[in-house]
């Protein structure tokens, strides 16, 4: 079992710094979520991990071996990205053949099964498929390739709700059959919230959170009630967002609550869901930056 270490990765494109000293560890057989707003640096990070582009500084190691230009390490990874790197003239079946030739193996029975479920014609040329079917073909490869680290960058781009649901089911089934590490980068947080065990949140090129989902949710609260009571209770806490509707105010708090404070009867405390937490954490930082 290998562990993937991303060590102090920074990336500049000209004067624009896309990633700032990102360090993270990906353990085997775990499903991760990689969350970030548009332009946060998620795709750049995945491209660096899989050796598609070079970082300005830092390195990526698979246990003690550097991934850079290492065929053994690279063959343990597969990145399904928004970019279509397969030749448009190739038939889907030929693309699968090519993947098998490169990775040494390919789960053909599963590929046929998934092609049937998603209604993909293996004899169709890749270039003739719609955006959604481009994603589906790449997803089938991602689930059938014998790699230990599968990175899915916007995996459900262009997929309708039925196909998205089917994909999540198949992802879990493939994981159960052969556990491996999946990293899912998506904006549809609600849809993956129940799939992922651990999340990395990236904002403005920096790692904002690196935590198990359960722990993260356990430390996030929505405190609702009359405005004065809510303000009094949340004073001094890490309030990351606020919403008001008439006299009722909700303050979103990230961090530990003060156990010594008495919760007023008029105030209710609930945990946030992952999407709301993400929105308030990243919004909060942007508002702070603007001020």
């Amino acid at each position: 079992m290998t562990t993937l270490h991303v060590n102090h990765i920074s990336q500049h494109f000209g004067k624009h710094q896309v990633l700032k000293d990102v360090t993270m560890t990906l353990e085997p057989q775990k499903i991760y979520g990689l969350l970030g707003r548009n332009g946060a640096g998620k795709s750049t990070l995945l491209n660096i991990i899989t050796n598609r582009i070079f970082p300005s500084s830092g390195d990526v190691m698979l246990d003690n071996t550097e991934v850079f230009e290492n065929d053994d390490c690279l063959s343990k990874m597969y990145l399904m990205s928004e970019a279509n790197l397969y030749a448009e003239r190739l038939k889907v079946r030929k693309i699968f053949d090519l993947v098998q030739m490169s990775y040494g193996q390919f789960d053909w029975p599963l590929a046929h099964e998934l092609a049937g479920k998603f209604q993909v014609n293996l004899e169709e040329r890749f270039g003739r498929l719609s955006t959604g079917y481009h994603s589906i073909v790449k997803l089938i490869i991602a689930l059938c390739v014998p790699a230990d680290y599968i990175f899915l960058d916007e995996p459900v781009l262009g997929l309708d709700a039925n196909h998205r649901e089917l994909f999540y089911q198949e992802l879990l089934a493939a994981y159960e059959k052969r556990p491996r590490t999946f990293v899912i980068s998506t904006h549809l947080i609600e849809e993956i919230a129940n799939l992922v065990e651990h999340v990395f949140m990236i904002d403005d090129g920096q790692l904002l959170a690196d935590e198990d989902v359960e722990e993260l949710i356990a430390r996030s609260y929505a405190i609702t009630g009359p405005r004065p009571a809510v303000l009094a209770y949340t004073e001094g806490l890490n309030v990351v967002g606020e919403e008001s509707l008439g006299q009722i105010t909700t303050n979103y708090v990230f961090g530990t609550l003060d156990d010594t404070r008495i919760i007023p009867d008029s105030v209710t405390i609930e945990h946030l869901d992952l999407q709301k937490l993400f929105v308030y954490l990243t919004n909060g930082r942007h508002q702070q930056n603007e001020h």
Partner: protein, 246 residues
């Protein structure tokens, strides 16, 4: 790495053969079928196309196709390989092996054509028609020249593949202009130092003033060094390949 690069080299070779086949279909349509039909309609005969011409033209198409392959398909090749967990080093090695595989039949056909139908060999043009055991050396000489030509195209192609669309357009427009200016300056400089330039060229081709003959060894060494330099250059450029944002 070798197994992977061998598998990939065979894939590249098959891919190139497919493209070459497509090129031949176009070639037949444009250069053979259409003129033949016109010739039949106008003069009702099929003169003009000889077997020797035909083989030479087929070889020329194969050589031009391989040069184009080396020049223009490097970025596509990179995209495909990096998507499939193959390092730049392995992809480059497979590309070189693939081109080597493609060059072999070209030089073999060229040799057979030269033997059977007195087709042209570069060696024969420079050093006279080979006799007996010289055939092996002549074929090796032509093969090395062909490889150095393809290696040069590969180095240029990998260099171009590093550029964005805008950068490529700038180079494609700018280089001929700058090249022309440099060429004019070079010619001027050569005219001023005719003797020195002539001596350098004679040394490269191994020309002897006494015998009026060229020494194949000199030019072979020069071509070999050129081949190695171009391969190293193409390797260097290939190691800098990255996914472009354009």
């Amino acid at each position: 790495m070798n197994t992977k690069s061998n598998r990939l080299a065979i894939y590249n070779f098959k891919n190139s053969l497919f493209h070459l086949g497509t090129t031949y279909i176009w070639f037949f349509a444009i250069v053979v079928i259409v003129p033949t039909l016109i010739s039949l309609i106008v003069s009702s005969n099929l003169s003009g196309m000889t077997w020797s011409n035909f083989v030479s033209e087929l070889l020329a198409v194969a050589i031009f196709y391989t040069i184009a392959d080396c020049l223009f398909f490097n970025y596509n090749n990179f995209k495909l390989t990096i998507q499939n967990g193959i390092s730049r080093r392995t992809a480059w090695l497979a590309r070189v092996k693939g081109i080597l595989l493609l060059s072999l039949p070209i030089v073999i056909v060229q040799g057979i054509d030269a033997l059977v139908d007195h087709g042209s060999l570069l060696y024969a043009g420079l050093f006279g028609t080979p006799k007996g055991a010289e055939w092996g050396a002549a074929l090796a000489f032509d093969f090395m020249n062909m490889l150095s030509l393809f290696a040069t195209a590969l180095a240029v192609g990998y260099g171009l593949a590093l550029l964005s669309k805008r950068g490529k357009a700038t180079v494609i427009i700018g280089v001929p202009i700058v090249g022309l200016i440099l060429l004019v300056q070079l010619v001027k400089a050569m005219l001023k130092n005719q003797e020195a330039v002539a001596n350098v060229l004679k040394a490269i081709i191994g020309y002897s003033d006494k015998t009026g003959m060229m020494n194949p060894l000199n030019i072979s060494l020069f071509v070999l060094v050129w081949l190695v330099v171009m391969l190293l250059l193409s390797f260097f450029f290939s190691s800098k390949m990255k996914l472009r944002r354009d």
